[in-house]
């Protein structure tokens, strides 16, 4: 084999692998990305039942109820609120009046069945999407955005 042929084989196999990778990435992106929506988005976009989405907002104060393993609560962005049901253990930082991101799909009645609940990881940290969604609805309180490092610095 000449040097040129070897190089062609090398380049050809690289392109083949890259082609496979690109096909895989595109295929997987089509199937497995999940869009983030605020409760208002869900209503305005007329999201169909069964479509997998992430729903984020604040847990409405006074809406949380639990019976054995089934938890029910409302997620709100101040304008719209959506009923969410979830079966399982909620994260430690899940609290009424705090930010939450849930993943799942709407059922036929327009309430949301979540199979994953992510609460923010730190009490000074608000999930970015939730913060943005709340800002849009004008319910942003500035102290949500306080980060541990931003206070106490010398003026």
């Amino acid at each position: 084999m000449t040097r040129k042929q070897r190089r062609l084989i090398l380049i050809g196999s690289c392109l083949a692998v890259l082609g496979v990778a690109v096909a895989l990435i595109l295929g997987a992106l089509k199937d497995s990305i999940v869009f983030f929506n605020s409760p208002t988005d869900v209503v305005e976009k007329h999201i169909k039942p069964g479509t997998r989405i992430r729903l984020g907002g604040l847990v409405q104060t006074g809406s949380f109820a639990r019976q054995d393993l089934d938890a029910r609560f409302d997620v709100t962005d101040g304008k719209t609120s959506i009923k969410v049901s979830y079966r399982g253990i909620l994260p430690d930082l899940f609290r009424e009046g705090q930010g939450v991101v849930t993943e799942g799909a709407l059922d036929a009645n327009g309430s949301f069945v979540a199979d994953t609940v992510l609460a923010k990881h730190d009490e000074t940290y608000m999930p970015k999407e939730v913060a943005d969604a709340l800002k849009k609805q004008g319910h942003w309180k500035d102290d949500y955005g306080k980060t541990p490092g931003s206070e106490g610095r010398k003026p």
């Binding site: 496979v20 992430r54 399982g88 909620l90 970015k128 980060t147 610095r153």
Partner: protein, 658 residues
Amino acid sequence: MIAEIGHYALVLALGLAVIQAVVPVIGARLNDPTLMAVAEPVAIAQFGFVALSFAALTASYVSSDFSVANVVINSHSTMPLIYKFTSVWGNHEGSMLLWVLILTLFGALVALFSANLPAMLRADALGIQALIALAFHLFILVTSNPFARLQEPPFEGRDLNPVLQDFGLAVHPPFLYLGYVGFSVTFSFAVAALIEGRIDAAWARWVRPWALAAWMALTLGIAMGSYWAYYELGWGGWWFWDPVENASLMPWLAGTALLHSAVVMEKRNALKVWTILLAILAFSLSLIGTFLVRSGVLTSVHAFATDPTRGVFILGILVFFIGGALSLYAWRAPALKQGGLFAPISREGALVFNNLFLTTVCATIFVGTLYPLALEAITAEKISVGAPFFNATVGVLAIPLLFAVPFGPLLAWKRGDLLGAAQRLIAAFGISLVVIVAAFAFFGAKGVLAPAAIGLAVFIMIGALTDIAERTQVINQPSNAFRRAAGLPRGAWGTAVAHLGVGIALLGIVCESNFGSEHIASVKPSQTVALAGYDLTFEGAVPRQGPNYRELVAKFTIRRDGQIVGVMEPTKRSFAARAASTTEAALMARGVSQLYLSLGEPGTDGSIVVRAYYKPLVLLIWLGAIVMFAGGALSLSDRRLRVGAPKPSRSSILQSAK
């Protein structure tokens, strides 16, 4: 006073970094030996001052000096001593200080252990290293100063985030950073080589130990982080494809590719341009990881310190170093001479195959991690790319890569014999086929994928053993095997052991994710839950007082076939200082499998929600990483690679022989 000494030490380190980045590089251009020689003592001194600075911050934490803002925000006077130490790096400012501590540590190590390097390469590499340090010293002093003081010290600190009050934080970040930052050395050497325009096989030999050390630390760092998430987050998962995790996996993949391609460069003087590119990419990905974590552009369950205002500064550092290095690369690389020839089927070919797939996997993860950010920036649409994406892409790409692992070491350099290698792997094929059939029969028609993956793991493990068996000829000439084994270069042992580790980890991953069982229930005292052949009896929950928290301890008695095998006590802790709570899972090892209990909310009637997992062979995942680490350590101890080890001169050998 101690905090101010630390602050000043950091300023001095910045000053020394300026000198180290300028003087030796000018010296190298003018070929002035004295100016070049400035690099080493200054690099060591710079490390000394950063270490002093770090010690001062640690002292402030240990004595709970609340005139230091950073201590107030991340510490509490009643915290146990170990967490006072670890909270030094459990926050943004402190972790950046740890970052430069390790960066300058590597600079000092290069200064100490590179007497065998040409003076010019050493001066240039240390100059680049100092330039990186300079950027991060500035970043710390200007945007993230851990020594900022408060005029009126508050009486009590705000405590460390309870999730971070764990032994995992003591070990995970230092190792991760050792890995991340270790690749700065290969980066500096690559840029130095590009500046000088001389890149040859010798370069690879000099750089490989550093790449190996960084890779080892990163392997262990990622494994520890994964185990920490596994037991601390209480979800029973050990890998979430979280952007922060991906940020550590990408440099690891690039670094693994670098290790392999550097072998080709060292032995055959080939793949030079590619190896240099990988050296640049590995550290660039580390920098991107730092940017992703530290700038707050991500929504991540891991982010414990985020501040978008710092993002711009890090982005600047990122653009300067990555952009600068890649431009230099584009300018200089075409001028490099081509190296040795090889056939597609050869050791070199196998290593190219390895590199091709590793970098493709790395690129895939890169796309999956950054696509949501790009899409949001362009269309304002928010999406999340989760585990399904990564499982579908990485899973498929990893199969040919893993399948090829046993073949590589069995192929000869230049022109290999694939059929011959396959014949020598016949035993490995046979055993893994038997395992596949057995697994299929045992687990029933749960699908063919899991048994096949188990077979692949076994194939890799037996393949690694085959490599050693072949080299020592333990089958053909057992009598001489021991002598041969002793004479085998440690590098060869290292390869086999590391590949064995890959197989072990794969076996753990496959079994845990396919055959694990999970049960969620709300239990009342003396109620029993059955899981994977175990009976878990809830004995009741009692409150208990910890050093700086209170906890609810649920006691479970574990029985198998009526015999008590142990007691598990998962707890829920509440920390008054932050008004936060954490769930501490209970783990019980059964061989290399584990039972895992995690608590939910307690009910009003004495019941409690519990999540119970049985995780078969789960410990193999981290055991595999430890074995990989051991393989790296074996290779690093190979005399040929040992950095700066003085080689006995020929005459002294002759003398001692007399």
